[in-house]
């Protein structure tokens, strides 16, 4: 416990970084980094993740605000979708004129 509080005092909070590589695309998770606040997180992200023209927009979220699904529940979460093939829209014949599907 004492170790934990030492780390808390000497480390800045962790932030998750999302970068949009070009207009029209989604922000994608690029990685994480340390920063004292949101403003510094954006600037650090600029220096760490967009050095080679990777981005046009940056989102930052403090890691503690990310809530994740529990891997232990993977079976009940995802397996039931396995045999529900009718949930895929694959039973339609698409006209040739229809593109981008």
């Amino acid at each position: 416990m004492s170790n934990q509080s030492v780390i808390d005092r000497t480390q800045w909070p962790l932030w998750e970084i999302f970068i949009r590589s070009k207009q029209g695309l989604d922000h994608k998770h690029a990685g994480s980094l340390h920063a004292a606040d949101a403003q510094m997180a954006i600037e650090n992200a600029r220096d760490v993740y967009t050095r080679r023209m990777e981005g046009v927009s940056i989102w930052v979220v403090e890691s503690k605000h990310i809530h994740a699904s529990n891997p232990d529940e993977a079976a009940s979460f995802y397996d039931p979708a396995n045999d529900k093939v009718y949930r895929h829209p694959t039973f339609y014949d698409l006209p040739d004129e229809l593109k981008h599907m």
Binding site: L33, H34, A36, M40, E43, N44, D47, V48, R51
Partner: protein, 255 residues
């Protein structure tokens, strides 16, 4: 002095400022206070050295046109201290993080107006370099301003370090806007900015950030000058000794 000679000196001055500051910042690489800031200061170092290369290439071209053989490397690595025309501010030691970022802040607050004016100036090459480097300088100023505020308005310790850095560096800031002969020529010929006008903008920028940072803008006092005409502090010698060692010991060595 003939016009090509004085333009050559002006370009060298622009190059030396950013080479020496870039080299100083690069000394932090691997030693930054935290990984992300290590990358940030190294990026700034690379930006500055990139600007220096552009200026040195132009200076070498001007030199060759006058029949004096030079390359960007010979200008950077084979001149002695008294030939360097950088201002004294940029050669000062890194000290702690407070001193490094305050040095960068003072210089960037000058550089953005300098480059903006160069970009509008009469020399096409300098205008192109100025336009490109201007965007970099804006970011350097933003980054260093935020650090000045963060430390100045931070803890007792960080504030005390900013005050100490200010004590150490303030006397070198006056030289930024004290024109050397080649800068008088540059403003007279429409190549570069009029430094006394830039000084007013610089003071306003610095005052604004100091207000936010809770730092006292020092009353005008005696300023140290001479670097732009080759009279340097002892610090430059140490930089050149390290930076030039390889080319001096192994001429034209490549790796």
């Amino acid at each position: 002095m003939s016009e090509p000679t004085i333009l050559f000196q002006y370009v060298l001055h622009l190059a030396d400022d950013v080479l020496i500051l870039g080299h100083r910042n690069s000394e932090w690489t691997g030693h930054g206070p935290i990984l992300e800031q290590d990358i940030a200061i190294s990026n700034i170092a690379l930006d500055l050295i990139g600007q220096a290369r552009n200026f040195y290439q132009y200076a070498a071209q001007l030199s060759n046109e006058r029949g004096i053989s030079a390359t960007e490397d010979s200008l950077a690595y084979l001149r002695d201290g008294w030939d360097f025309r950088n201002c004294l501010l940029v050669e000062q030691t890194n000290g702690d993080w407070a001193k490094t970022i305050l040095r960068q802040f003072f210089f960037s607050a000058h550089q953005i107006d300098l480059y903006e004016q160069l970009a509008k100036g009469g020399d096409a090459t300098l205008a192109a370099i100025g336009a490109k480097a201007y965007k970099e300088a804006i970011y350097h100023l933003r980054w260093s301003s935020e650090w000045v505020i963060r430390l100045g308005d931070g803890t007792e310790e960080s504030h005390a370090r900013m005050v100490r850095a200010l004590d150490e560096l303030w006397k070198f800031t006056g030289e930024l806007h004290t024109p050397a002969p080649y800068e008088l020529w540059a403003s007279g010929s429409g190549t570069g900015p009029d430094l006394p006008i830039l000084r007013l903008k610089w003071e306003e920028r610095v005052k604004n950030i100091f207000d936010e940072a809770g730092l006292t803008y020092p009353a005008t006092q005696w300023m140290q000058t001479g670097g732009k005409e080759g009279r340097h502090t002892e610090q430059l010698g140490y930089i050149l000794a390290e930076m030039q060692f390889l080319q001096r010991a192994y001429p034209e060595c490549e790796w």
